[in-house]
Amino acid sequence: MIVPTMADMMAQGKQPEILFWVGAAGSYDDRAKKISRAFVKILHQAKVDFAVLGTEESSTGDAAKRAGNEFLFQMQALMNIEVLNGYEVKKIVTCDPHSFNTLKNEYPSLGGKYKVLHHTQFIQNLIAEGRLEIDNQNLQGKRVTFHDPCYLGRANEVYESPRDLIRRLGVNLTEMKRHKRTALCCGAGGAQMFKDAEAGDKEVNILRTEDALETKPDIIATGCPYCNTMMTDGIKFKEKEDSVIVRDIAELIAQANKL
């Protein structure tokens, strides 16, 4: 798979249209890597001139910041900004709503000012510009429910881009009782992904999986690698992995377009 880096681009004296910010999950987590690859396939199909930072990319610092470590966050932020500004990056696209939120909202006052888009927003733009079409035959009729990632939804009020893409797949989009503004968290945010939950009577991801299963879905769609992990675990816990799959919207588009 051809994934050019900013360093390659610079060596050739080129400036890509977008920087694809892969994020830690998209780079290292086996499940999330598939999302990164699906998104790259879409970029190739739409002939988007893109690059990644590769080994020069480092944690945005989101998890450190939410865990209370502002020092570590700002060290990460300033290092990343130095790299990004060094490459004169203007536009960033990411599949990770946490990176999206941090790059978009928390980097500007530290000197990192970029146009930042979630991949669902960017793909929506590609379609609007006539650069990409979604085949609405291959997934037709499937029951899909969309789990709003907190850092895309409430945090940045992006509710429609992912839904617009899902509708274009020709599927039957069924909303959970808690959706958009009132969507329930998957349980991973605020650095919870990296620790055990406090004592309680249930795991958050199980409760959210129950919300999703109420819609009797074939597919639970997400737009966040961490939500993906939490919902996948929830489906396993409920022993539904034979009938329900969890997919990122990028994966669904790649599948629909047979990429």
């Binding site: 290292y28 790259v40 450190a64 570590l72 945090a155 620790k195 249930k202």
Partner: protein, 438 residues
């Protein structure tokens, strides 16, 4: 002696309003114990928020049942209070229904008639509210933090409103000339027959007594506000005006940290350089918050504004899954501790004397703070734009940056980020391997 009632009324009014003003000054003093934060930008957006959310009850009606019921009480409360103007004029000058002469019988009748209908609606709504709180088993009214005073407080407010509305109707029903005029009594005309067999003196006595208890009740209620969650009727307005306008996902960057990090990363920085004059004071006492005085004045105003409705807690993923965290409790604890600090300052002639307590641990425990997923459901839910998440984050910052007291797994995550730029233990050189793994 002819002017005795006027004098008594004036004294009651002066004491009632005076005591209220004193309490408001105390409230303002306590809020100003918070750290400075600039919320004077973008005035049009702030004004719009206030008009839409506080005045317009925009977020209240997202839950239609409780929202519409609340709108009835809110509109009733605001409009019926126009009548208080007349009561004050009558009380001070010994007049009776002074506006009737000024604005004419028809319009006066229309006004009082409207007030009566609203009073009846408010009464019915308040009874429904009481039932919701005490009989209906609604989960958010039964949480641990609602036991004791908060529950009593909620009920007391409802009793106050029931009594005040009843007195308003009885006062009109026993006003014989008013009933005889027959305008503006759509409700009280049905109450008036109860008093048919009473002597003229008794009816007049009931009318006067109702009138007095009604206005004294209003003055008592006004002063009850400061001691109650009911302060939201005033603070909802500044609270929505000064609320955060940024994207909810944006957590503030600490400037104090930026300075230190920049110094650390600057290869030309001289660590042994003499600090510039005055630089010493700029160094903050601590990072994050362990006490109410470490929070900003907006966060402290948030705490006083909270009316403990519990919509935040009913949407909190941690709370829904049985964890100890309740965003409402975060706000109540902040307010209770701030009140305690305020009383301490009053008792010690204007300075705070260490009482061996603080907001962290004595009120809010680390277990609650670490249960938060930062999902913003509480912030989204709050009908008056209170931000419990910002307090949780500031307190986590204190735990981590001042006490290194993060849960073990988070320490591991953070040292991974520090060492290899990812929350897991992978080599940064492997960061692009995903591209060639299929």
């Amino acid at each position: 002696m002819q002017y005795l009632p006027n004098i008594l009324f004036a004294i009651a009014l002066i004491f009632g309003v005076g005591f209220f003003v004193l309490n408001i000054r105390k409230l303002s003093r306590n809020i100003k114990l918070g750290k400075d934060v600039n919320r004077t930008d973008n005035k049009p957006a702030r004004l719009k928020n206030m008009l839409k959310i506080a005045l317009g009850q925009y977020k209240m009606v997202r839950r239609p049942l409780s929202g519409i019921l609340h709108v009835i009480v809110y509109v009733g409360f605001v409009i019926i209070n126009i009548e208080v103007l007349e009561i004050i004029v009558d009380g001070l000058f010994g007049t009776h229904r002074v506006f009737q002469g000024f604005i004419g019988n028809a319009f006066y009748g229309f006004l009082i008639g409207t007030f009566e209908i609203l009073a009846a609606l408010v009464f019915i709504t308040v009874v429904i509210f009481w039932t919701r709180r005490n009989v209906a088993n609604i989960k958010r009214f039964l949480s641990a933090e609602m036991k004791g005073w908060p529950k009593k407080d909620g009920n007391l407010i409802l009793y106050f409103e029931m009594v005040l509305m009843t007195l308003f109707i009885v006062m009109n029903a026993t006003d014989v000339p008013f009933q005889e005029a027959g305008v503006g009594n759509p409700i009280s005309q049905f109450v008036a027959p109860i008093f048919n067999n009473f002597s003229a003196e008794s009816i007049h006595l009931i009318e006067r007594t109702s009138w007095w208890i009604h206005i004294l009740g209003i003055l008592v209620f006004l002063n009850y506000l400061y001691y109650s969650k009911h302060l939201h009727i005033l603070l909802a307005f500044p609270n929505t005006y000064f609320a955060n306008l940024n994207a909810k996902g944006q957590l503030n960057n600490l400037d104090s940290v930026t300075n230190e990090v920049k110094l650390m990363m600057d290869p030309d920085a001289d660590p042994y350089a003499t600090p510039e004059a005055g630089a010493e004071e700029e160094v903050p006492e601590k990072f994050g918050a362990s006490e109410v005085t470490d929070l900003s004045w907006v966060q402290l105003m948030n705490a006083y504004t909270c009316t403990e409705c519990g919509r935040c807690t009913s949407a909190c993923p941690a709370n829904l899954t049985g964890k100890k965290l309740s965003p409402r409790k975060i706000m109540m604890d902040t307010r209770d501790r701030l009140e305690e600090v305020g009383r301490n300052i009053d008792e010690n002639k204007g300075t705070f004397k260490d009482d061996g307590k603080q907001l962290l641990n004595d009120y809010i425990t680390p277990e609650e703070l670490w249960a938060c997923t930062s999902c913003n459901a509480c912030v989204e839910e709050c009908p008056v734009n209170i931000d419990p998440l910002s307090i949780i984050m500031d307190m986590r910052r204190y735990l981590v940056m001042e006490q290194s007291a993060a849960p073990q797994e988070l320490n591991a995550m953070m040292s991974n980020i520090e060492n290899n730029g990812a929350p897991w233990q992978y080599n940064q050189q492997d960061r692009l391997n995903w591209a060639n793994e299929e």
